[in-house]
Amino acid sequence: MGKFNKNGSKEVPELNTSSLPDLIFSILFFFMMVTSMREVTLKVEFDTPKGTEIEKLEKKSLVSYVYIGKPTKEFRAKMGLSSRIQLNDDFAEVGDIRDYIYMERENMPERDKPFMRVSMKIDQETQMGIVTDVKMALREAWALNVVYSGGKRQ
């Protein structure tokens, strides 16, 4: 017949949590690796247009950014309300784009250089004049793969 040991301890053994820190650490390392801290502080405001033929950009390390939009509030007194270009952390002129692209390209590994992409984050209300100037500057710097950044429209 079955024996039921009624004398044994009924206490549920405590869960061993000594490996919890290791677990958390491994998640932590994962996030540390995938994290790319926002490199620039935006000084221009932009609201990118929405389209249907949007593609996802893979490999962030290949992408350089050009921002065009109105200066944010704290810079309006100084820079006015008209659209400005931002490269890295600072306002820039069309003439600076060439050097910026060369610098970005310089920082890339040799085999990635042909795949360099420039993502243009441009506010919807920007006038085409400045956009065209930027595009011409990009062409002259041989940064021909461009992306008109925009969201997906439903």
Partner: protein
């Protein structure tokens, strides 16, 4: 002397988990998983200064011009002078259908691009007739809004993507966007409908 062996108390590691949690949460917050999205385009190389200033000869029937003025009004025209079709007051959404018709020229109209057998022959499809000389040109004014330009680019790309999808469905029974971009099928489809949207410098229309 005190030779008593002292027992070193074990380090209490129970707070380690909390510390690493805090770090974890910090990285979770600062992580930007958002991927950039947008219309992927390729610009033409810069004009060669050594090149003679010779207008690239493109037959009138091969050119489709979309032009936007400073008030964001869109018009398009195509075809030779004698058979020109033009329309003003167009909405960006209307461009898709007309651009598709122009690129594919299904009825072989005289004011739409002519066909040439593909040269070199395309993989799988061979010497397929292709409207390879067609060009879609988008002309803007300096005061045109970027939003309108973006929508036009979007519609033109949609026209190409739809044509490619249709052809891929017909030939391979698959959507173009589901094909491997490096496969022979995709190369063939791209060969039939190469994306030719020119990025011309803006013109000034009318006074300022």
């Amino acid at each position: 002397m005190a030779k008593k062996k002292r027992k070193v108390p074990g380090l209490n590691g129970s707070s380690l988990a909390d510390i690493s949690f805090i770090l974890l949460i910090f990285f979770l917050i600062t992580t930007s998983m958002d991927t950039d999205t947008g219309l992927v385009r390729r610009l033409p190389p810069p004009p060669d200064p050594n090149q003679l200033d010779e207008d690239v000869k493109v037959k009138g029937r091969n050119v489709f011009v979309v032009s936007v003025n400073m008030n964001n009004e869109i018009m398009y025209y195509y075809g030779d002078e004698s058979k020109r079709v033009s329309k003003t007051g167009v909405q960006p959404e209307d461009l898709r259908e007309i651009a598709k018709e122009f690129i594919a020229n299904p009825e072989n109209k005289a004011n739409m691009p002519e066909f040439h057998p593909a040269d070199p022959p395309l993989p799988i499809l061979g010497a397929y007739p292709v409207t390879k000389n067609h060009i879609i040109s988008v002309q803007t004014d300096r005061s045109t809004s970027y939003e309108v330009y973006f929508q036009i680019q979007n519609e033109l790309m949609a026209a190409y993507n739809e044509l490619r999808d249709e052809l891929a469905r017909e030939k391979f029974g698959k959507y173009y966007r589901h094909l491997d971009p490096e496969s022979d099928e995709a190369l063939a489809i791209r060969g039939v409908y190469p994306m030719k949207i020119s990025e011309a410098e803006p013109k000034k229309y009318g006074g300022n």
